[in-house]
Symmetry: C2
Subunit: 447 residues, 2 copies
């Protein structure tokens, strides 16, 4: 086997980084469950026609083919999923008879996209999704609730604060109708490029390809320029002169989402009428989220309300969901050394080995400590104690246990050098040493 080199777009963490990732996932899962979400895991593959349902061929799907496929066997027609929303919609249809609706589910899984890798974009990445899905109709209030769940989770983690930008699809659609613009999808697609190509180019495209008059294009750009952390955006939108019942409904809903945010998570939400989201299945509130101080990373948590994603022709299951990009978030924090863990191994105690013949006795000591929840391993070899202590030091194991001939052993805190008598059935480390825990490393970008 030759020397190995990393594969672009397929990140792999070192063990202590994986420990950080696991603890982050623990918090996400705990908070999602505190909010009454049930876990779902779907298979990693879907039939290709499922993945292409919404014409999202730009997702760069990975197809599967069996290496030993028979010569006359065509491709399996299976691909790796590129998100967790499409598989969840399929799961709901497949298992509908055995699910309770409204269904609050979370799903933490890998997804794959054959995109060109760059910072924040990976070919294999971990997503943490929450969705509420119901049969036939879905009350609006879930659109206000979901951002609060994400905020509750992230505020328990040592990560920079987030700001979630919200909009409602009904606003630009009603606005276009009110102004007599026919090509609403075209307008939305064009506005979605605002951050990338700037106002001037967007204006030109609105006129050239979306069929707007200059005045209509001006109005669309004025709409997209509106942001507010309170409901003041409503009057500003209405002042632009468009009038339509759908616009009114969108403004009312967005105002309710923003109000709910102000009540339960001040500073979280920003109404931003430029937010469009590329996916054409959104029909109500849409969300994007920036990590404060890392705005250029792009959205770390996006989603929205969808009405027709899951339908078997007879029953439709409308839903609303948010998808947190765990790999994008952690990739950034790892890259900038902005998240840490109190030690790099789970082990709290290394039982020193006086001689190889004592291994069974030392294993029994380790077993007694483990029986009380203290992570313990026995030294790999009966080296001189100095070498065994350095083994612990290099790994950040805080305690070394020295078996004694009498009934009581000794344990040393190798950071302070303090060594005390100890009984494996009674000794307990300080709570902070029992398990590794997360911390932030203050950087330029964090408060």
């Amino acid at each position: 086997m030759a020397k190995q080199s990393a594969m672009s777009g397929f990140p792999e963490w070192l063990p202590h980084q994986r420990m950080i990732e696991q603890r982050v996932l623990d918090v996400l899962r705990e908070v999602f469950e505190l909010h009454g979400f049930v876990p779902v895991e779907t298979r990693s593959v879907e039939p290709l026609d499922q993945l292409l349902r919404k014409g999202e061929t730009d997702k760069e799907i990975y197809l599967l083919r069996r290496l030993q496929a028979d010569a006359d066997e065509s491709d399996s027609g299976l691909g790796l999923h590129f998100d967790l929303t499409v598989p969840f919609a399929r799961y709901v249809l497949e298992h509908a008879g055995r699910l309770e609706f409204p269904l609050r589910r979370y799903q933490i899984q890998k997804a794959w996209r054959g995109e060109r890798p760059q910072e924040g974009r990976y070919r294999e990445f971990l997503q943490a999704d929450i969705d509420v899905i119901d049969r036939d109709t879905l009350p609006f209030h879930y659109e206000a609730e979901l951002p609060l769940v994400i905020a509750d989770a992230l505020r328990r983690l040592p990560v920079p604060p987030i700001r979630m930008q919200v909009n409602n699809r009904k606003i630009p659609e009603g606005f276009c109708r009110g102004l007599g613009i026919a090509d609403f999808p075209g307008v939305l697609r064009t506005l979605d490029k605002l951050a990338k190509i700037g106002a001037q180019q967007v204006h030109a495209q609105l006129v050239d390809t979306a069929g707007c008059s200059t005045a209509q294009a001006d109005a669309c750009l004025a709409l997209a320029g509106i942001t507010a952390d309170d409901t003041s955006f409503v009057d500003r939108v209405l002042a632009l002169g468009a009038s339509d019942p759908l616009l009114d409904e969108g403004l009312e809903q967005l105002a309710a989402v923003v109000e709910s945010g102000r009540d339960h998570a001040p500073g979280l939400l920003l109404a931003d009428l430029s937010i469009a989201r590329g996916l054409d299945y959104y029909t109500g509130t849409v969300y994007e989220t920036v990590l404060v101080g890392h705005e250029r990373l792009g959205s770390i948590c996006s989603g929205g309300r969808y009405d027709a994603l899951a339908s078997d022709g007879e029953v439709t299951y409308p839903g609303v969901g948010l998808s947190l990009g765990v790999t994008r978030l952690l990739g950034r924090l790892f890259g900038q050394d902005q998240i840490s863990i109190s030690r790099k191994v789970p082990t709290c105690v290394l039982v020193a080995l006086p001689d190889e013949a004592s291994r069974s006795r030392c294993a029994a000591i380790a077993g007694r400590l483990r029986g009380r929840g203290i992570a313990t391993q026995v030294a790999p070899a009966a080296d001189k104690y100095g070498k065994q202590i350095r083994f612990a030091e290099r790994r950040g194991i805080p305690y070394v246990w020295f078996p004694q001939d009498g009934p009581v052993d000794q344990v040393r805190d190798i950071r302070s050098g303090e060594q005390v008598d100890a009984d494996a059935d009674r000794w307990t480390p300080p709570a902070d040493d029992l398990r590794p825990y997360l911390g932030a490393i203050a950087g330029e970008d964090t408060a």
Copy 2:
């Protein structure tokens, strides 16, 4: 979207089954960490030449191809990994400079094989692996330790007891040498079919294809017939007349593994000299594990010692590992309804909604309960209380919270009907109701 049907070989669990699976994984992870193993996660894909290194083309690898690959772009040369051992060996080589050796790692991940699905065999499945890997040399004692870690994990779960069958590759190899049989790999491959084709056919193949004399084939079958839960197998092997230093070393090591099992986990280990394991990279102890009462399911935990799997030409990293088939285990227990969870949702309390205008007040109550670790959700709609209670009942949510106008609310245990005054900052459910927990369902196969 048409009605969906399940895809053979790609199991998907219902939410409450996923809750069971997660709690099983929690226990595995907790115990692995108690024993000082660090977590590693590798990417899901490997270069094809990596996957084919040991000639394991019968693993039915899934190759990847980008849907939008350019016409002149050949296949990506990437495949999904079929186990966690080969990727881990590659990971060790790739990251060796940043790892501490000996490295104790666990890895809990999906793997994929394009095999024909049948009970216990899946195309996508979850494995939980532990390995200890070192640089240049690996002390033997880890071969005795690993089975104890698995046993420690499984005895904390409501699953049937296990019996781990152990052998040592040096025994059949030394035995063949001692008898003057040249084709040791051929003998091993043939003996590996014993359970499938029976002694008579194995005997015929040993003579016809592995080049044994009748007497040699008799001796090999006699060797493979030996089992013992203590070290008595040593004399029985020696009585078959083969003599070789490698045989002696294998017998000594296997005796040490069995002795260690008797000391620390009585009843766990059975020396079974028929165990061969198909993979040709094993060089010392090999393991297979049956679930007692489910022997026909096949091994749920296999592995062994390998000396040359990870090598960059200059440095070799010998290791020993065990791989627990989580999907095989749970697929069986789910299929026979032999494992249960105390309720089917995480939610402990449903806050009833007197009217839609009270939603924000009810959300605040839910937040106070969650702040003290009590999983809570607010009712989806302000239906009559009877309907809201049935909503909780259908999901197995044990408590319904009734907001009152005064400072104190009321909470009802909907199983007993008992309703008491309660303050959201003080009320706590009994410990058994706080979180769902695992239990066994007594079946024919369990004690």
